[in-house]
């Protein structure tokens, strides 16, 4: 079974790589991060629009935090295939977005709209990077 699986891996890799049917690890990371940031933005919006209970939003942000933690190392990894300037840009917006995810505004006293705008911007930036 293992031999067949290894053969399948070889055949699939050749076929899929030849047709550009798989994403590079960097593109996959960027797409996943963009999607997680989009989910975080939607979560904060729904909470303040009264569509989501506070406990649900808090628990969701804990999951986003785990999902997004440690991406800075992947962004700066040598094999990422992006320029140093692009990597710096991504890193900067990633750090600002991660700070929001770590301390989301789940009260009425803070500026949640600014946080949502930042998360949206970060999401778009990562999704764009994933497509390049």
């Amino acid at each position: 079974m293992l031999r067949v699986a290894a053969y399948a891996l070889l055949v699939l890799s050749t076929a899929l790589a030849g047709c550009q049917m798989t994403q590079s690890p960097f593109a996959r990371m960027a797409t996943n991060a963009g999607a997680a940031l989009a989910a975080a933005s939607t979560t904060i919006s729904y909470f303040h629009e009264g569509k989501l209970p506070g406990a649900y939003a808090a628990s969701s942000f804990a999951s986003y935090q785990s999902e997004l933690a440690g991406l800075d190392q992947q962004i700066t990894a040598t094999g990422s295939g992006i320029s140093a300037q692009d990597a710096d840009g991504l890193l900067a917006i990633y750090r600002r977005a991660l700070a929001v995810v770590e301390h989301p505004c789940l009260q009425s006293s803070c500026d949640w709209r600014a946080q949502r705008a930042l998360l949206d911007q970060a999401s778009r930036t990562f999704l764009r990077a994933g497509r390049q």
């Binding site: 891996l9 798989t22 999607a35 649900y56 804990a62 999951s63 999902e67």
Partner: protein, 408 residues
């Protein structure tokens, strides 16, 4: 007669409510959020396959009065039995860890408490239920609660139904450049999640626990066809909700909580809570079934005394096995791996081992020594062969695609 129809109705309701688990929830949600309705066909195909398999297992047990695990040991010998058991142990311990994580995430979404802290509580709850609760309560209680998943249909209706623009994705999936491996991977994972062999061992053992006989064949057929058929509504509804409410927002449903956003969009806080309750009920029900299914398998294969309705002192080795399986999975889930990722990995491993679990059916379902005149007909055998071919295909590609796609 009235009693028989009551048990048929209960069987159907149980099958509907018990269809979903963390694997089907994870794969369906991600499928809808990433590929619109482009993977609906896989759910339909897998549902037909599980109807076929469950109805066969029920017929086998009702007529032969033997469970699937006991028949494998008896017919193929101890070595082959150990092969099936080994693959089941790996796959189901992983799946149980994911189910426990799913229950903990559901409780976390309701209470706001970290799911890592809730995991030991969940493990304790599962242990108390398997230790003290009778089989009927385990089988029917959580499945009835799982009917909350029908609220997903309300979510679709309130969202305005399926937009016309999505309909063509049924036969022409939207696969972005670089996403083909992910699409193929989800096909194998959905197959593994829907056709989990624990269901076969659990169903077979349940039939013995409830003393099925030839008179139960109608109950078996209706439960399998109607119950499992309607049960897939939950998976289909999740795909649709993901496609309607998550895909336009670029959300890929990579954590379980994200799926609830698809219910919060049309139904607000109630929608989010209904999703969390559904997640809780379906994962708890599946966790109980997985731990029982694997323990039944081990006890029956080794010829030990077994039975959920027996006192622990009457079946001590069976009860110790339940505890060991639960402890192993709890330790695995305590490593902190996200339950959705764990569920996807478990579905992949299940797909990898599917041929080992399902192949014996082809032989024993044609053995007149067990089934007399109730052996498979030609059409059923052809259908079973087709399912086995699909299982082999899923097994060969599942692991390579997991690495190539990065897990969906």
């Amino acid at each position: 007669m009235k009693k028989q129809w009551l048990s048929i109705a209960l069987g159907i309701v149980t099958a509907i409510g018990g269809f979903l688990d963390v694997g089907t929830i994870a794969t369906s949600g991600e499928a809808g959020a990433k590929f619109g309705l482009g993977l609906v066909w896989v759910i339909l195909l897998a549902t037909v396959a599980i109807i076929l398999l469950v109805s066969m297992i029920g017929r086998f047990t009702a007529v032969s009065k033997k469970t699937y695990a006991a028949a494998i040991r008896e017919h193929f010998g101890f070595r082959f039995y150990l092969l099936t058991l080994g693959s089941e142990c790996i796959a189901e311990v992983l799946l149980l860890a994911a189910e426990l994580g799913g229950v903990a995430i559901a409780l976390s979404l309701i209470t706001g408490i970290s799911w890592h802290l809730l995991l030991p509580v969940v493990a304790l709850l599962v242990w108390v239920l398997i230790w003290r609760a009778p089989f009927d309560l385990i089988e029917n209680g959580t499945a009835l609660l799982g009917l909350v998943m029908l609220s997903f249909i309300v979510g679709i209706v309130v969202s305005g139904g399926i937009p016309r623009s999505l309909i063509p994705t049924l036969w022409h999936p939207q696969i972005q450049p670089g996403d083909a491996a992910s699409y193929l991977y989800l096909i194998a994972a959905i197959f593994g999640a829907t056709i989990s062999p624990y269901l076969l061992y659990f169903y077979s053992s349940g039939a013995r626990e409830e003393h099925w006989s030839r008179r139960s064949l109608l109950l078996n057929r209706i439960t399998a066809v109607v119950g499992m058929g309607f049960g897939s509504v939950g998976s289909l509804a999740l795909i649709i909700l993901g496609a309607i409410n998550l895909q336009p927002l670029h959300i890929q449903s990579t954590t379980l909580g994200e799926l609830g956003l698809a219910m919060a969009q049309p139904l607000g806080q109630i929608g989010a809570l209904l999703f969390a309750v559904t997640l809780f009920a379906t994962c708890l029900g599946a966790a109980l079934e997985v731990v029982l299914g694997l323990s039944y398998n081990i006890a029956q294969g080794f010829g030990w005394e077994w039975g959920e309705d027996k006192l622990p002192a009457e079946a001590p080795r069976f009860n110790v096995t339940l505890l060991i399986v639960l402890v192993l999975s709890t330790l695995l889930s305590l490593t902190g791996v996200d339950p959705l990722q764990m569920a996807l990995f478990a579905s992949t491993i299940i797909a990898l081992f599917l041929p080992i679990s399902l192949s014996p059916l082809l032989i024993i379902m044609n053995d007149k020594g067990y089934l007399k005149e109730e052996t498979n007909g030609r059409a059923i055998n052809i259908a079973l062969l087709f399912v086995l071919l699909l299982a082999f295909a899923a097994a060969v590609v599942s692991l390579p695609l997991l690495f190539l796609s990065g897990g969906g």
